[in-house]
Symmetry: C2
Subunit: 440 residues, 2 copies
């Protein structure tokens, strides 16, 4: 697989550049904005994710010989455009919500300022990353709240594309998950990894006891034994007999967990294994996690629902031109007028207004040339990339850790209704405040 | 990004290998099977996709210094296991449904025969690829039927992870889509690419006419002009004025398409542009495509719904140990007994039985040592990889073309109810025929 990300894009981004170069309009300075018109169905808030890895992917967005040859052979663009692409390196500025920040409908999550051609080329890549990663983070964050302090592990690698799996593990960790099963996410992003054994390991051996002995010999008594391959009560007895009082945990991956967890807890206690924990992993989502929070469960493993955004596998973000220079170099706001897809033109300055107690009261978006003076609230835009250079605070493993911290902090500002699982309105209203002129 | 795929896996695959090596059970010959317990909600059939690229990814599943160093540092496995992994190269045999084949609940889509350790290591990667790609192909295939012969383009790259986007374009093409917007899918898999311009291109210019002139200058009059940035009727007039009678197509991306398509068709005809086509692209899925098939629309562009599997973003396949040698080298079938996750042990020989007219009547799965003699039907298993070497007929661009052809052919065998969009039972029943003994 090539490391260039330049063809991870829609063909029309390149034909637009081609036509603009021919028309002499490609160099008009432009402002593009990524935002979601609404939150995924009934959610109260969203979590921005993907920003850090996006900044790295933009650095790899270069057209090298192999990419240029493909474009030439397929006649995607003309020769002058091939020459322009050969020298392409994003040199613009990206301002936006920092990764882990909370967002609401129309929050201007990313603002790209560059020439039209430089900015439009990144559209597909920006949306692929933000839409998928924020979908996972938004779902994961609700699961973390539903678990009421018990740790969650992301185990859904097998339920999404093999590279999306790495992004999903990263996004779930940012949203408060404690660990992932995905090893590449451990290597690339420093996410803690976990996992012990599947049913196949039990079935490889002639008896469940033989399998448990093999696992304890390799991983120690503190391991987690999967006890539901055959009969749960028998599995628990065997696990305790093999691992003794030091047995770390038992895992339940089937059955009616609401009743089973209590039964197994009582059995473990009776056998003297009061410190042995119970982890559950059977097709959980935020609703079953909330229901299980009333049982003596100790931790959760979540697969399909978290890596597929729990019913909303794409966060619904779009990337729109909102301002540009005209042929005289004057800035003008632009907006699409088609009925259900109208956009709000102009450069935005978003602020999370806070009330006297420090609770967020609105997502207020000032539109205009300069940021307003804020009385009580947080400005939400930071410089993520300046003249093509990413701020290293937002990339790599340190970016992931900072994003995880940021999501936890930002969530504490939200009003109580933000944490309702039931479908409803966003927890904060989005309010536009237009400056007298939207020129900048 | 590293080209090794060896860490695109769950940690527990490695800890199981570690424990099995320590117990001396890792070399027991084993049969693993990938299958789905059911089809995605209410679907009548599934389409196998991902096989060809999976075979290539398995070839890159090697533990090199960087991977081994990570595993050592994180203490994932013991030193003897690190040595075993350093020499790991999958040397087993993979039999299965060829890509593009139709499948039903419990169809044994992929059968992996190898040592336990070699086979279990591939679980996560196999499922990631098959689950995502088959999810897209299953949804795409229904859209193709709903379009009743009109071509569809896959344009959903921005609505899924950036590498999943390439897989989605490939899977949709296998399922009968005509083209994709994704350039990397064009380069890597030979999928035809398409696309012209977005609203941003119109808004870059001072007038819609200026934008259309720029696009026609670069791409010719045969291009597709996007006419709904401001006012559709005005947009169509401008498009025809600029491009003349040779205008290839107009694209509608908003509004009530059911009425708009007819209005625009009438307007184009009145302006003398009877050969100018109409393409529509506004959040379509199989249901809106079916409804639009009654209008004078010429082609469809589909985004979110196809790359997210139209409500079922993971096909639900699992990978289970179904047979293994015991400590004496005797083959035994194994099966999990937990209530809702019971598996059917043993080596399978699936056959699509056909009636006298050549219409498929059942998915019959013979369980046992040898394949039965089939009176009327197709055996569904082919050798995809032998002793670690993939059959080149199934990989690369030629594998994609063959898979696309295969899906079309296999679909023609199905009974009429297979093409109903409404939720219902699978179009064929899955029938097990157990041999007197399941030893092989």
């Amino acid at each position: 697989m090539t490391s260039s990300t330049a063809l991870l894009t829609d063909r029309y981004e390149l034909t637009m550049v081609d036509a603009a170069i021919r028309a002499g309009t490609h160099d008009r300075r432009s402002v593009f904005e990524a935002f979601g018109r609404s939150l995924p169905a009934g959610r109260r808030y969203g979590v921005v994710a993907g920003t850090g890895r996006l900044l790295e992917l933009i650095g790899d967005f270069r057209f090298q010989d192999a990419e240029l040859e493909f474009l030439r052979e397929q006649r995607v663009v003309s020769t002058p455009t091939l020459e322009w692409l050969a020298n392409y390196r994003f040199s613009g500025t990206i301002t936006g919500y920092r990764e882990g920040e909370i967002y609401f409908p129309n929050s201007p999550i990313l603002v790209v300022e560059a020439s039209f051609a430089e900015g439009v080329l990144l559209e597909t890549l920006i949306l692929s990353v933000l839409n998928y990663d924020s979908s996972v983070a938004g779902a994961a964050s609700r699961m973390v709240s539903a678990a009421r302090g018990r740790p969650l592990a992301e185990m859904g690698s097998r339920r999404t594309g093999e590279r999306s799996a790495v992004a999903a593990a990263r996004a779930a960790y940012i949203a408060g998950f404690a660990a992932t099963s995905n090893l590449e996410a451990g290597r690339t992003w420093g996410v803690p990894t976990m996992g012990t054994a599947a049913h196949a390991f039990t079935m490889l051996h002639d008896t469940e006891e033989e399998a448990f002995r093999a696992q304890v010999a390799a991983l120690g008594a503190g391991t987690t034994l999967l006890v539901d391959t055959y009969d749960v009560a028998e599995g628990v007895r065997t696990a305790v007999r093999v691992a003794g009082p030091e047995l770390g945990a038992v895992r339940l991956d089937s059955g009616d967990l609401l009743t089973l967890v209590s039964t197994v807890r009582a059995q473990l206690d009776e056998l003297g294994n009061r410190d042995t924990k119970i982890t559950v992993t059977n097709d959980l989502d935020e609703y079953t996690i909330a229901a299980l929070a009333a049982t003596p469960v100790d931790s959760f493993g979540v697969g399909t629902s978290v890596v597929t955004g729990s019913g909303s596998p794409a966060a619904g973000m779009v990337y729109k031109l909102v301002a540009r220079q005209d042929s005289q170099g004057e800035w003008i706001s632009v907006a699409k007028k088609s009925p259900e897809k109208a956009t709000h033109g102009g450069r935005k300055h978003p602020v999370r207004l806070l009330d006297a107690s420090g609770t967020a009261s609105s997502e207020t978006i000032y539109v205009g040339a300069t940021a307003p003076a804020i009385v009580r609230g947080r400005t939400l835009h930071s410089a993520l990339m300046t003249d093509g250079v990413a701020d290293p605070a937002y990339t790599g493993g340190q970016g992931v850790e900072a994003a995880r911290e940021r999501r936890a902090t930002a969530l504490r500002e939200l009003p109580a209704e933000a944490f309702r699982l039931a479908a409803g309105d966003p927890a904060l209203p989005t309010v536009y405040v237009d400056a007298p002129t939207t020129r900048r």
